[in-house]
Subunit: 502 residues, 2 copies
C-alpha cells in the first residue's frame, strides 16, 4: 500500500530506512521539522536520530541539533530528542513534558516566537541557516510535488530554505487529504511584497501541493504511524460556564449591532475550554458560521458535521481518534469545507485584521488591569509558548481570553494583582472570561478595568484580597493610572511558591 | 485673507465665533478632535469650551466631555480642558503635563490604545457614540470637501462618525498643503474588508481631501494660530552614540545581505534620539531611503532636503519653527515627496508588515530579557502612552528600541531586572540600543538575551548588580527559562521610589 504513495521515480530511488536517513543529519545543524499540534510531524527519522544521538553520547560524543517546527509535535519527536539531550535550540513552540523539563532546568535553549513570525524570520536570515528539512507528507506526485499531511505549519518554508530534504511518506495519513490544502506561493521579501488576496475564510489563493526541488531530497522514508491524537474530554462544569458567558456575550453583541448575525470568523485556541465553547456554539442560535484559526479540534469538526460551521480554515488538525474516524468516513464532504494553509497565512496579521476574527484564547494568569500571561509559571518556568495567540489577539475584531478563575483546587487565583510575565498587554485584551463571569474591558481605563475584572472574573474567595490590594494601591501607589504597590505585588506568587494558598 | 479659505457657501453661512461654537457642545458628550503630535489640532474651540466649563463650574455645574484625538495635541486643547477638569475620559494618547497630572491623580480616566486600533474601534461601536467632531482644516472647497491641515490622524473617522461637526479653518496653515494628503476611503467593516492596495511608502491610494456631509456641520470657526512647534535641540552625546550604533548595525545588515542597500522604509518615534538617528543617516552611506512613519520631524525633513530620503509617508508633521519655515519655503517640492495619511493607514499592521518597516522607538525602561515599558513610571504613573509603537514593533521587519542607559543623572538604570509595566513583550523586541552599545536579540533565548543586554546596553555602573541578579535568579529562581526572583525583582524600583539610587 505504501508504495503507491510515491509516484515520482527520482524520489522513489531515494527510499531508505529511518536509521539510514537519520545518519545523514550531522551534529550542529538546524533541522526544520514538520508538525503542528501533534499532527503531521515526522514519525520515524527523529526517533532514529535520537537513537543515534544516544549511541554517540555513549561513546562520549556530544551530538545536538537545532529543532524548528510548526508548533508542538509529539513524544516521538520532541520527547525522544529531548530525552537524549539532543536539542541545542528549540523554536518556535513546544508542549512536550520532557522538553519543558530540559528548558526549565536550563539544559536547552528555547525561543518562543509568534507563529506568524517564524517563516519570515527564516527568510530574512534572522535565525541562521536551515540545513535540513524533515517533512511528513501524505504522498508524492509523479512530478515530485508533495501531498501535504495533516498539518501544513512551516513546511513550505522548510522545503524552500533547507539545503537538504528528508521526506517521510506516511501511508497512515488519508490519501484523500489531497486537495484540502492551499499552499500560497505569493509571498515575497520586502520591498517586493504584495497584498495577500484572501478576503474570506474559505478562499483558496494557492495550490494544493507543496513544491520541492527533487535535487535537494537526500532520503525518502516510508512510515505508517498515527498522529498523536489526544483523547477528547467532555467539557467540565467550569468550561461549560465559560462557554455560556461567551455565547451570551456574542448574542448581546449581535443584538447591539456590533456583530453580524452569523458572527465573524472564529479563532479558537487548543484545549478543553475551546472545545466547550465550540460545543456551546453548536447548540447555540448562530448559523452559517466560519472559522479562521490555527487548529481544527473536535469541537469545530462537530460543528461542520452539524452544519453550524460552513467553512473552516486552519493550518493543522488536532483530533481525537473518534473525530478522526468521523473525518475519514466523510472526507470528501469535509474537504469542501476545510482548508489547511501554511501558518504564515493562517496566522497572518494582514488576513486576521481584514477578516475581523473573533479570537478566543486561554491563559495561565491575568491581572486586574487585563494583562495576560500565557506562557510562564511564576514568571520563570515556561509552560508551552505564546503560539499564535499574539497574532490573533492583537489583530482580532474581538480579543477574548478565557480561564477558570482558580487552579490547583483553589490554591491559586488565576486573577492576580500583577501577572508575573506578560504575553498580551492590556492593549490587546478586550474581554476576559472565567466561570464566574465575563469582563468587557472595551472603553475602560485601567482603574475601571480592575473593578470589573475583580467583580466579574475573580473567584469570590479571592475577591476581597484583590479589592484590598487595588484600594491600597490607589491610596498609596506612586500613581493612580495603573496603581501598583511594587513592594508586595508578587506576594501572591511568593505564597504559592512556598506551597501556601495564594 | 481667511475668507478666501472657505469656498463653500453653505458652510460659509455657518461661520461663528469659537465661543458660539463651543456653546453647541453639551456636557457629557464624546468629542472627536483633530490633532496629532502637536499639529493640526483645533486652536480656538477647545479653549472656548474650557472657558465655558470654568464658568459652569463656578456656578456649581459639573461639565465634562470625552476627548478623543489622533494623538497628542497642545496646551490650548488638552492643557486647557484638563486645567478646568473638563475631561471625563481621554483617548488614545496624550503628552500634556496638566492632563498627565490629572490622570495620575485619579481625576481623569485615560485609555491608552494602539493608534491603529482607534478608528476601527469607533466604527465597531466599541468606544460608545461619537457626538461631535471638532476638526481643523486648511480650507474648504466649493463642494464642501475639506483640505486637511498639518495632521490627518483620525479626522476621516471623526467626520464620518460624529453626529455634528465643527470645523476650524486655520489660515495660518499653508494653503499649498493642498494635494499633499492621501485620504483612503476604501476601508470597510468586516466581513467586507478588502486588501489595502498600498505597496510602496510613496503610493497614493486615496484622494487629497476629506469628505464631510455639510448637513452635519453646525459651526465653522476661522482661526489664524500656529501649531505647537517645538524647539529642535541638537542631539546630545548619548543620542549621537545611539545613532552611531544603529548606523553601524544597519551597515552590517546590508553587508550580510539581510537588508537592501537602500534599506527598507524607516519608522522613527518622536524625540531627540529619533532626530539624532535621522541626522546620522543624513551623513551616512545610505541613499534613496524611504520612510513609512507616524510623524515627520525635523530630522526627516532635513533628509528630504539633502536628497537622502526620497519619499516619506506619515500622518502628521511635528516640526520646529525653523523646519516649518524650510517646509513652507519649498512646499511645492516637498509635496512631491511627502504623503500625509489617516493614522489607520500610516499605522496599519497590514501595510507595515508588507512594506517591511525598520521600526525605531524609544522607551522608559527595558529589562534584561528584552521586555519594554514605554508608558508607565514605576509601573503606576502614565507618562504619555503607547502611541503607534506597538503597531510598528510587532509588524516591523526589524524592531529596534533605543534609550540612554540611565536617567536622572545616573540614579536610575533604564535596564532593570524586570520592567514594572510591559508594553512590548520579549516577542516584539529584536534590537535594544543604548549609548553603551547594541544588543541584537534575534535568535536568542531569554537567558542568552540577558547576557547581551547586560553586557552591551546596561551602564557599566549597573552591570555588576544586574549580573548578580541574573546569576542568583538562575541559581535560585523557580525555573531557568526566564529566571526571576519575585521576592526582590522590584527592589530596584523601590529604591528609586525612596529617592535612592537604583
Amino acid at each position: 500500500m505504501s508504495e503507491s504513495r510515491i509516484h515520482c521515480a527520482a524520489l522513489g530511488a531515494k527510499i531508505m530506512s529511518a536509521d539510514e536517513a537519520a545518519a545523514l543529519i550531522p551534529s550542529g545543524v538546524n533541522v526544520g521539522m514538520s508538525g503542528f499540534t501533534g499532527s503531521g510531524y515526522p514519525k520515524a527519522v527523529p526517533a532514529a536520530l535520537a537513537r543515534r544521538i544516544e549511541a554517540e553520547n555513549a561513546r562520549g560524543q556530544r551530538f545536538r541539533i537545532g529543532v524548528w517546527t510548526g508548533a508542538s509535535t509529539a513524544p516521538e519527536l520532541d520527547g525522544a530528542l529531548a530525552k537524549v539531550d539532543g536539542i541545542e535550540m528549540r523554536l518556535p513552540y513546544q508542549s512536550d513534558p520532557v522538553c519543558r523539563e530540559r528548558i526549565n532546568a536550563g539544559e536547552m535553549e528555547y525561543i518562543d516566537i509568534h507563529l506568524s513570525h517564524v517563516a519570515q524570520f527564516v527568510w530574512f536570515g534572522f535565525l541562521g541557516k536551515l540545513d535540513v528539512a524533515v517533512v511528513e507528507v501524505a504522498g508524492i506526485l509523479p512530478d515530485g510535488r508533495l501531498i501535504p499531511s495533516s498539518s501544513v505549519g512551516n513546511n513550505k518554508t522548510w522545503l524552500e530554505q533547507a539545503d537538504k530534504v528528508i521526506l517521510e511518506v506516511n501511508s497512515w495519513q488519508n490519501s484523500r487529504l489531497e486537495g484540502m490544502h492551499d499552499i500560497y506561493y505569493g509571498t515575497q521579501l520586502p520591498p517586493h511584497r504584495k497584498p495577500i488576496p484572501l478576503v474570506g475564510a474559505a478562499d483558496r489563493i494557492g495550490e494544493p501541493y507543496l513544491r520541492c526541488d527533487p535535487g535537494k531530497v537526500i532520503a525518502v522514508v516510508e512510515t505508517h504511524s498515527p498522529d498523536r491524537n489526544s483523547a477528547f474530554s467532555a467539557p467540565d462544569e467550569n468550561s461549560r460556564r465559560i462557554a455560556g458567558h461567551i455565547l451570551e456575550f456574542l448574542q448581546h453583541e449581535v443584538k447591539k449591532g456590533r456583530l453580524p448575525a452569523d458572527l465573524l470568523p472564529l479563532q479558537s485556541g487548543v484545549g478543553n475550554i475551546a472545545n466547550a465553547v465550540m460545543a456551546g456554539l453548536n447548540e447555540g442560535p448562530f448559523e452559517n458560521l466560519t472559522a479562521y484559526t490555527e487548529v481544527l479540534q473536535d469541537g469545530m469538526l462537530e460543528m461542520i458535521k452539524s452544519g453550524k460551521l460552513a467553512h473552516a480554515s486552519a493550518t493543522a488538525f488536532s483530533l481525537s481518534n473518534e473525530a478522526l474516524a468521523e473525518l475519514n468516513a466523510d472526507l470528501d464532504r469535509y474537504r469542501e469545507r476545510i482548508v489547511l494553509r501554511p501558518q504564515e497565512i493562517s496566522n497572518h496579521p494582514e488576513v486576521i485584521r481584514r477578516l475581523g476574527v473573533i479570537a478566543m484564547n486561554g491563559l495561565i494568569e491575568a491581572d486586574i488591569y487585563g494583562n495576560v500571561n500565557s506562557t510562564h509559571v511564576m514568571g520563570s518556568k515556561i509552560m508551552n509558548g505564546i503560539g499564535g495567540s499574539g497574532d490573533f489577539a492583537r489583530n482580532a475584531y474581538l480579543s477574548i481570553f478565557m480561564t477558570p478563575s482558580q487552579a490547583k483546587g483553589g490554591a491559586i487565583s488565576c486573577i492576580v494583582p500583577m501577572v508575573s510575565h506578560v504575553d498580551h498587554t492590556e492593549h490587546d485584551v478586550q474581554v476576559l472570561v472565567t466561570e464566574q463571569g465575563l469582563a468587557d474591558l472595551r472603553g475602560l481605563s485601567p482603574r475601571q478595568r480592575a473593578k470589573v475584572v475583580i467583580d466579574n472574573c475573580a473567584h469570590p474567595d479571592f475577591r476581597p484580597a484583590l479589592r484590598d490590594y487595588h484600594e491600597r494601591a490607589l491610596a498609596h501607589g506612586p500613581g493612580r493610572h495603573t496603581p501598583h504597590l511594587l513592594g508586595e505585588v508578587f506576594d501572591w506568587h511568593l505564597r504559592a511558591l512556598r506551597g501556601e494558598r495564594m
